[in-house]
Subunit: 214 residues, 2 copies
């Protein structure tokens, strides 16, 4: 398997965690989001993934984009160490937690959105930072509400086993800390983040541990 | 089953299509996104879905948020008329197409984002419209690239059976048309949109056909 990745890409970070939790080896192919005008926009990567977004996974002749689609694919083809619970209601909860980050929070402060904000809209750097922090806070507040008031939350987001939801939670907390968001209002999120951070699978997927880290 | 919905919510529209394709009856509970300062933000709906976003599905005592998590849940609990293909690579493709809309395109021009743009950022109406159109165009261009150059695309997004990808494609085209985006550059998307629009399941899920339509 080959993973097209960038050390600080939140979506690639999710997939690295999932691969590590499942104990799957992979070749990391770095695509630098800022170098050469954005390598993800170049011909070479575009031929791999026409969406020009990271990550993409190559496996058995198939190229799969979208972090959550990749993790579901891994779940179906490598079912050992499941990242989704067995019951449909539990699976729905884990997927909804993951999507609350991957669809409703993370895309809003993505690189291309920030570029459009400072470029076409012409906002100043402090307004851009305010934008990032607003959507990071809003996403973490939703996550906290979903986790804190549900008895299915355990040591991790769903019970006592790491799941797809944790694969998304940890990179989003990384983003929040990177952009100086105060995480004190989200104690359940941060307790789960601390529990995940004790596991080698999460440690080894961290941006700072990647070959392309700067 | 009870679906918390709003006639023009793109995410609720996806779930209505899926329910119709599977032939599942449901009670529609309208939550008005603009009335009373946004009914989705009120105590009543917040108690149902702490994310304060539509849609949510109540089934058998479970409340599920997030349109894609709801559709996956329906797929697992009501497998007749599958909305995902049988093979893992095909399932991954359909999920990636769906996420390219549901995660990478639609959230960027959502109501709360537009509110923040005109409120906190203070942009004018024409800049707001430009923002909406930019992300609608960008999302449709990605979808066109993913669909046009893949032999797995058929009458619908994946082969000749409607799938989760089509449940997302049709509402996104509705949004594009509503905000006067020229859809001519996306012929494959529009051909699939036309094919879907011939089916009663899609017709009956259309915003204009909902009891809460204005």
């Amino acid at each position: 398997m080959k993973l097209y990745t960038y050390f600080r890409s939140s979506a690639a970070y999710r997939v690295r965690i999932a691969l590590n939790l499942k104990g799957l080896a992979y070749d990391a192919q770095a695509v630098h989001l800022l170098r050469n005008g954005g390598e993800q926009l170049g011909e070479a990567y575009r031929a791999v993934n026409p969406s020009m977004l990271l990550p993409a996974l190559e496996d058995d002749g198939n190229v799969i984009g979208q972090s959550l689609a990749i993790i579901e694919y891994l779940e179906e083809t490598r079912p050992e160490t499941p990242l989704l619970p067995a019951d449909p209601a539990g699976r729905a909860r884990v997927r909804a937690l993951a999507l609350s980050i991957a669809a409703d929070s993370h895309p809003l402060a993505n690189l291309r959105v920030l570029k459009y904000l400072t470029g076409q809209v012409g906002v100043a750097e402090d307004v851009k930072l305010g934008w990032q922090q607003h959507w990071l806070r809003s996403g973490l507040a939703t996550l906290e509400a979903l986790l804190a008031n549900d008895t299915r939350t355990g040591r991790y987001s769903h019970g006592d086993t790491p799941s797809l939801a944790d694969c998304c939670l940890v990179p989003q907390v990384f983003n929040a800390q990177r952009f100086n968001v105060d995480t004190a209002p989200y104690p359940t999120v941060m307790r789960i983040h601390a529990a995940c951070s004790e596991l080698p699978a999460f440690q080894q997927a961290h941006p700072a541990q990647q070959p392309d880290a700067e």
